[in-house]
């Protein structure tokens, strides 16, 4: 649905040319929710604005729905942009127009009659849950409601693509959740292709199917959210993820000396990650049954969802005879989960021996 090939964008600034994008290749399939994550200044907004050509790339090609936007004149672009809805961090609603008129805006631009407009706007008001607010002005709405108006306005021209530039970054976590749910349900109901720009991994985790990590104008890592999330390659990706995942040791072990070698009485701490189906399997119960001499303590556990897949993380501590622990480790390695050995640590206050 969206194909970017070798996109470069260089801004002329007083301090000299600024290369905001340095050769971006991206392929987004129909119906996908594609996340683009990056730090501030990474080039995310520039990239998303290249998709609807609010920003003309310095080099490279942009295809949307098979048509090459980079080859179009301004007036051709104006008509093709009706297929590409966009929502913004600061909503960008007309303060002088009511909710109804804001949603009607793209239809009026297209010269539609008032009856046709009404027939379009009323269902959209319903879709975003703002029927009661039709005659209010944006200043009378909360942030979440404003973004709902933004979404309805973006959908009015029945686009095939929805671009979201930090659409939830100005909202509190709860409102963010409800806006993301709305975007997700629209994606499912209308088979809309969605591009989500964000600096928050939580947003990616909550609704995206795929993700690209943008850093310094290049895509450093991309793939399904599950893959990138569970097996990040680059430091920057790991950093984004670590915000969501607590990687600290449980309190009873924090600050203790982590040793590589077995010593009696020390706990072998393991970080286990279960993905998808395996999250449901009683792997630990199996291990306990097989190796009764190993004492297994659950120190931390968290069950989450990524792209609708169960995703569990836990930290367990194993103590017992060395040989048994090694075998238990071998058993876990053979299961469908990812395990990471933290090391042997003693519990605070536990007497040695």
């Amino acid at each position: 649905m969206i194909k970017l090939s070798q996109i470069e964008k260089t801004y002329a600034t007083p301090a000299g040319p600024l290369r905001a994008l340095k050769g971006i290749d991206l392929n987004i399939k129909k119906g996908e929710i594609y996340g683009i994550i990056g730090l501030s200044g990474a080039g995310k907004s520039t990239l998303v604005r290249c998709i609807n050509m609010l920003e003309r790339p310095t080099r490279g090609k942009v295809f949307v729905d098979g048509r090459e936007l980079t080859a179009m004149s301004d007036s051709e672009l104006r008509s093709v942009r009706k297929d590409i809805g966009m929502i913004f961090q600061h909503f960008n609603l007309l303060s002088s127009a009511t909710v109804y008129d804001n949603i009607a805006f793209p239809l009026r631009l297209a010269g539609k009659g008032e009856d046709a407009i009404r027939a379009k706007v009323i269902p959209l008001l319903k879709l975003v849950g703002l029927e009661a607010k039709a005659e209010q002005y944006p200043s009378q709405l909360s942030g979440g409601q404003k973004q709902r108006v933004g979404i309805a306005r973006a959908l009015a021209s029945e686009p095939k693509v929805l671009l979201c530039d930090e659409a939830t970054s100005a909202l509190d976590p709860q409102t963010t959740r409800s806006i993301l749910d709305l975007i997700k349900s629209i994606n499912e109901r209308l088979h809309l292709t969605v591009v989500v720009i964000t600096h928050e991994m939580q947003v990616i985790k909550d609704i995206c199917d795929k993700v690209a990590v943008l850093d310094g104008g290049v895509i450093t890592e991309q793939g399904t959210v599950l893959d990138v999330f569970t097996n990040p390659q680059k430091d920057i990706t790991k950093e984004f993820i670590s915000v969501l995942l607590s990687n600290e040791l449980p309190v009873a072990f924090r600050g203790g000396l982590v040793e590589k070698e077995y010593s009696e009485g020390a706990y072998l701490l393991l970080r286990l990650t279960f993905i998808g189906e395996s999250a449901d399997e009683p792997v630990l119960a199996g291990m306990i049954r097989k190796f009764p001499e190993v004492e297994c303590t659950m120190l931390f556990g968290q069950l989450d969802q990524i792209s609708g897949q169960p995703f569990g993380r836990m930290i367990v501590g194993l103590t017992g005879p060395q040989q048994q622990i090694d075998m238990a480790l071998g058993y876990l390695a053979a299961q469908e989960l990812r395990e990471e050995v933290i090391g042997y640590v003693r519990r605070h206050g536990a007497a040695a021996g």
Binding site: L54, R81, N92, S96, F105
Partner: protein
């Protein structure tokens, strides 16, 4: 105060209102598009045209730097050409318009600058043409501010019309000079001042009310 004095004041007030209303209308019709031109051709705006913007801006600044009383005299030949005479209420409106158009242009430009660029981008993303952006985004969004600015212009026009009146244009300024000053009738002077004050207050009140009504922010 004698009855004929009251009549004279009434007639002078009518002339002032007429001068201000007509010159304001013409100046607005020319000044608002000028403001739109100044704003939209500026750097980074939708119709960016640096050379044109600089040239128009220079002319605007030049006219605005001429004190009204000098402008009025300096353009007498032009006034003659346009209305056939340099004296009278209609003739007085020529300098009033010429002085007000660049003033309105700058005021409107200032108002348009207040419209967040994000709104223009949102409109562009929806496929709006430059004309649609001007008429459906820029002007409606800045209307409360434009109304407030135009109110200021009307008030300065009241003052300038009094000056124009003093060189034979009629109106309250003319009356104040001829009767209040030259024939030493302080009560006429006082009456015109009071009427001018009330007039300006009313204009300000009306402008504020309208601007507030339009402002949905």
């Amino acid at each position: 105060m004698s009855e004929d004095m009251v009549l004279l004041l009434g007639k002078a007030l009518g002339e002032t209102v007429y001068m201000v209303a007509v010159s304001m209308t013409i100046a607005t019709l020319l000044g608002v598009p000028l403001g739109v031109l100044l704003h939209t051709t500026a750097k980074g705006q939708i119709l960016e045209a640096a050379a044109l913007n600089k040239a128009v801006g220079a002319v605007v600044n030049a006219i605005r730097s001429i004190p009204f009383i000098i402008l009025m005299v300096a353009i007498i030949p032009l006034t003659r050409l346009l209305v056939g005479s340099a004296i009278g209420t209609t003739a007085a409106m020529v300098p009033l318009v010429i002085a007000s158009v660049p003033f309105i242009g700058r005021q409107v430009e200032t108002s348009l600058k207040e419209v967040p660029y994000g709104l223009i981008e949102a409109a562009q993303a929806m496929g709006a043409s430059p004309a649609q952006i001007i008429f459906r985004v820029l002007l409606p969004e800045s209307m409360p501010s434009i109304v407030a600015q135009l109110t200021t212009v009307i008030i300065s026009l009241v003052g300038e019309s009094a000056m124009a009146g003093a060189i034979g244009g009629g109106g309250l300024g003319d009356l104040a000079i001829r009767y209040g000053y030259q024939r030493f009738r302080p009560e006429v002077m006082l009456a015109t001042v009071v009427i001018l004050i009330i007039l300006v207050q009313l204009v300000q009140l009306a402008g504020n009310t309208l601007a507030r009504k339009l402002d949905k922010r």
